[in-house]
Every structure is written in C-alpha cells, then in structure tokens.
C-alpha cells in the first residue's frame, strides 16, 4: 500500500526496494538491541508498553525518544521537552537540505512519504548511492526506511513487554541507562571541532543550574539546566571558533552524518 502510494510499482523499483532492504540488514541487527533497550527503559520510566510502541511508531527517532521519556519521567514542562527533542533531531534539517536536488523532481505525495523516513542510515545510504553516480531512487530509499522502521517499532514493543517483568529496576541498574547512553553519544561526537570546550561549558553550567536552588537561587534548577547549559555550550563553541567561510549545506550535512546520534555511529559506518 505504502509503496504503491509513493511510487508506481515496476519490476525495476521492486529490485531497488530489495537492494535497500538488503543494505539495511546490518544496520537493523545493530539497532535491534537499542530498540529493545528503549522499550525496557520506557516501561521502567513509568510508561506502558503501548506508550513506548506508539512513540516509536510515531517518532521513529532513536536518541530523541530516549530524551523525551527521560524528561517526561522528571515532570519537566512540555516546552522544554520539545526544545530538547528539536535540538537532538536538528541534524535532519541538514539531511533534507543536502538531498534537495534529488527530492525536487519527485511528486509531492512521494516526498511526503519519504521525509518521515529520513533517518541517519537512510541519509548515509542515499548519499553513498549518489556519490557512486547511481542516482536517487525512491524505491531503494523506501526499502531501507521501511525495514528499519518495522525493526524499530517491533524491537521497542518486545523490549517494553520484556521490561514489564523486571521487578526491581534499580537492581539491574536500569535507572542509570539513560545517563550512560547520553554519555556514550557525547563521547561519539569527540572528533568535532570545539568538542571539549562545548562539553566542559555545558557540563559545568548544567550542574551549577541544576543545584542552584540548594544555594538559594530558587528560580533556577530543572528544567533550566538543559536550556541554560546547552546555550552556554553552543555559545562557547561560537566564541572559540575561528572565523571561516560560509559552508555549503550539503557539506554541513556530511559532517553530521557519520557520527549521528541515532543509531549509534559504528552501525552507520559500515
């Protein structure tokens, strides 16, 4: 149904769909444990298995889903959760910008079907195809996107169902999985310019703001540690950076891809 709506099926597009599906297998195997972890952590954070599965089906956005359930569990206001989700997903803007020439000739319905599946490995896959001169192919894009989508939703559901049987989450250290996961993502960005300055600035500021109410500054504290800490880190990067030339959008997107936040970088690099 989905494929038919997006592109008139033909023998050639069936072959391309299969090519995308096959290329997604190593990524799917690597992402499956992360999807199950998401389901288990979501249930541990007080959500139902239905919540977790529905979230994966509607968002299909690894790292930012972890961020959202973490903050939802801490009763942080919705605007702050949305801001954090936007920040973590912002790299996708660069992906669709970089693929603009490829998207432009497609029909509007096709584009509407493709955009929601524009995740890190799909972008990397299409970039590679374009670099090899094989052109942009909606069927191959869909082949990879839909397999990874099904993988993500089913993995989340399985993890959530399994997570319900964990009687004492703290005994399995499930309560610390989110901070550890975010830490590993930050470490995976370490090749970026100004990384140390950014991490030092936002780390220090966020801890300070988080504990500020104990020092009498009651107007601070969560969720301001996210907003103020992140703003401080970004400002530090801008202040530390040398003046440069304007950067073409597709170059900026490539800088982002191969270390992207979700799924984890070693899986995208294959």
């Amino acid at each position: 149904m989905y494929l038919a709506a997006v592109q008139a099926p033909s023998r050639q597009s069936a072959g391309s769909f299969r090519e995308g599906a096959v290329a997604s297998v190593p990524v799917a195997i690597a992402v499956m444990p992360v999807a199950m972890l998401f389901g288990a952590v979501a249930v541990n954070a007080g959500l139902t298995a239905l919540d977790a599965t529905l979230m994966s089906a509607l968002m299909f956005a690894g790292a930012s889903q972890f961020v959202a359930i973490d903050l939802f569990g801490q009763a942080i206001p919705a605007w702050s959760i949305l801001l954090s989700v936007l920040a973590v997903n912002f790299r996708h803007v660069l992906y669709s910008a970089a693929l603009t020439p490829a998207f432009r000739p497609l029909r509007r319905a096709t584009k509407a079907g493709l955009f929601p599946l524009l995740i890190d490995p799909v972008f990397a896959f299409m970039e590679k195809r374009l670099a090899e001169g094989r052109g942009f192919c909606p069927a191959a894009y869909l082949g990879m996107g839909l397999v990874l989508y099904a993988n993500w939703v089913l993995g989340s559901a399985a993890g959530a169902v399994f997570g319900q049987f964990v009687a004492d989450p703290e005994a399995l250290s499930l309560d610390m999985i989110l901070p550890i996961y975010f830490l590993t993502l930050v470490v995976s960005f370490r090749a970026r310019a100004n990384w140390g300055i950014v991490v030092a600035a936002s780390g220090t500021l966020s801890v300070a703001v988080y504990h500020a109410p104990a020092l009498g500054l009651t107007f601070l504290g969560p969720p301001w540690h996210i907003t103020i800490g992140a703003a401080g880190g970004i400002l530090a990067a801008v202040l530390a950076a040398a003046r440069g030339r304007p950067v073409p959008v597709d170059e900026a997107a490539q800088e982002e891809t191969f270390e992207a936040a979700a799924p984890p970088r070693e899986e995208v690099r294959r």
């Binding site: 920040a87 910008a97 960005f189 988080y210 992140a230 970004i234 073409p248």
Partner: protein, 98 residues
C-alpha cells in the same frame, strides 16, 4: 496510555517530521550556512546531551559516578550497546556488594 503522554508524543512526532522535511523546505532560499551558524549547529547535539547526563554524575553515590567514569572510558573504544551493558553490570555489582 499514560495520561498526558499522547499529546506530547504527537507534538514530538510533528516536530521530528518537520526537521526531516525542513531542510528541503528551507533550501529554496539558503544555499550556504554562515560559518558561525554552522559552528553553533555542530555544537548543538553535544551541548544538549551533556546537560542530560552531567547532573546524574554528581546526584548519586560514588557508585553511580564510578559507573559514569567507566562509561566514558569504554565509549572511546566500544559502541553504546556494549558500553551500556558493561556499565549496568558493573553498577549492579557495586550496588549489591559494596
């Protein structure tokens, strides 16, 4: 469904699709990114994600801090899944026996 969760998820989903289509919608106007804006954009993920784990390092006991330190070391060499499983195992052991 958990109360109040569905509206949040719908908003998050809309936002996510918007970022995935956003570059295409914007690019008819912009071809290059000013250098300072590019630096800022590149810093966004590390800046945000750091604020999400930093308070946790100091909020627990020494056991949680030790597990986070171990995670930072392991993440230099291994992927997230292996790092998380190893650190969760170590933290569970520390909580049980010390």
């Amino acid at each position: 469904m958990t109360e109040g969760f569905l509206p949040l998820v719908l908003a998050c989903a809309a936002l996510t699709v918007l970022t995935r289509a956003g570059g295409y919608l914007l690019l008819s106007r912009v071809r290059t990114i000013p250098p300072r804006v590019n630096v800022a954009l590149e810093a966004v993920p590390a800046a945000v994600l750091t604020t999400l784990f930093a308070p946790a390092v100091l909020s627990g006991s020494w056991r949680e801090a030790a597990a986070m330190a171990l995670a930072a070391l392991l993440a230099l060499r291994f992927g997230p899944t292996a790092t998380i499983l190893a650190c969760a195992a170590v933290l569970t052991a520390l909580r049980t026996w010390s």
